[in-house]
Amino acid sequence: MSDLLAGLVAAFQLVFTLDHDLVEISLRSFQVTGISVFIAAFCGLPFGAWLAVTRFRYRRIAIALLNALMGLPPVVVGLFVYLMLSRSGPFGVLDLLFTPTAMIVAQTIIIAPIIASLSHQALRELWSVYHDLLISMNTTKGQRIKVLLWDGRRALLTAILTGFGRGIGEIGAIMIVGGNIDHLTRVLTTAIALEVGKGDFALALGLGLILIVMAIIVNLSVHILSRTEREGTW
């Protein structure tokens, strides 16, 4: 219990003094996950829509595989990306290991299946409603995907925010490929792990609290900005 209180105190101290290190790692957390989510959404949303409207032979298997990929253990992804980017690995020459870019690569791989799978599930339902109409109108596949992505945007937003949540709290992968280097690749979650390892639970809790609050703020702002739960039946 005293740890929790100490954590609360630590959190307030860090925030009110606008601790320089805190600002740095928080910003980096959001940059890494933010960019990863953007890339993952850029690939995942259209793919989910495409999967909803396309019939092909191995469709069921593809969908099952995609859903299974949602459960990729992040630390395994991290290990894989490390081996790829290591100097002894195929992409070593790019010198990307232990940089925020490597962290973005790992997080994008983790988040993309989540966004693709969730958007596919949401748009599948929408497609079953629009199916006859859009075929009757002789739309192309591209037009159908556009319609689904636009009309289904509320559900897609949820998919994106889910991906963001997964990413902002992720640690396994970015620890391995980022190295938690001070002033270079340290983010909120890896800093928390460091403090836990050192035994400083109060500080770790404080950082954790800040992480949660920031995630809530992001979610709230997104919902407010997109005016969900306000108009219409959607």
């Binding site: 929408l126 409603v129 629009y130 006859d132 109409l133 075929i135 009757s136 109108m137 002789n138 739309t139 037009q143 319609v147 636009w150 009309d151 289904g152 108009e231 219409g232 039946t233 959607w234």
Partner: protein
């Protein structure tokens, strides 16, 4: 010289689903003049025939074709479903959509859409989300959306089956107007009062086949088949 999509020709076309024959063999030549009504009891295959003609169903055997290639013919038809399908956007955005996908310039498209919203009597709902409309209003939207592209043929599948008198009247008015402007109409209904009011031509369907084809002027007074007679009398046809 722009070729017309007509005639639509069906030759021994059969539609099956999961091995079960839904309708057919169907043989028909549609020249495209006036309002043709598909009349018949529920389950007689009216919806299937409509979808076959429009291309939403493909024949398992036999032929269904227009006079010109499908790629062109498909853009000149519209279909109104029994249960209106509206997109989850505003009434205006719904109405304008068929024009947008035909690459009509945005300004002109939206103007035309507003015109048609006026035509179908939905002016007061123009910026409302289409999903909150009543059944009758949705169907008016669907009919307007079907006609906004000035199609050569409009298919309607029992459009007023679930609507009240006022809505039915409004829909029928739109259909008649379209017919007068030269749009070919093919409509399924089991309401023979409606058939009486609108039809120029009757295709009487029974057990998945076109049982009788007659001009409306003679069908109601002197039907050619017993089944048609029973139906008109109001008997249940098995």
């Amino acid at each position: 010289m722009v070729k017309t999509i007509f005639p639509l020709v069906l030759e021994d076309a059969c539609v099956s689903k999961k091995g079960r024959l839904l309708a057919g063999p169907l043989t028909l030549k549609l020249e495209g003049f006036g309002i043709t009504i598909l009349l018949g009891p529920n389950g007689s295959g009216k919806t299937t025939l409509l979808k076959l003609m429009h291309g939403l169903e493909k024949p398992k055997s036999g032929v269904a074709r227009w006079a010109i290639p499908n790629s062109i013919a498909n853009m000149k038809q519209s279909f109104v479903f029994q249960s209106p399908i509206v997109m989850r956007r505003t009434v205006l955005e719904n109405m304008v959509y068929p024009l947008i996908i035909r690459k009509v310039p945005r300004k002109a498209a939206f103007l035309r859409a507003e015109e048609w919203i006026e035509n179908v009597g939905l002016r007061q709902s123009i910026h409302k989300d289409a999903t909150v409309l009543s059944g009758g209003e949705k169907q008016k939207l669907a009919v307007g959306r079907g006609l906004i592209t000035d199609p050569d043929i409009l298919f309607l599948d029992e459009p007023s089956a679930n609507l009240d008198g006022a809505s039915t009247q409004a829909i029928e008015r739109l259909i008649l107007l379209a017919g007068e402007k030269g749009t070919s109409i093919v409509m399924a209904t089991h309401d023979f009062g409606q058939a009486r009011r609108l039809a120029k031509d009757i295709l009487f369907m029974y057990r998945g086949k076109i049982h009788e084809r007659s001009p409306a002027s003679t069908f109601f007074d002197t039907p050619k088949t017993n089944e048609a007679l029973s139906f008109i009398k109001g008997d249940i046809l098995l």
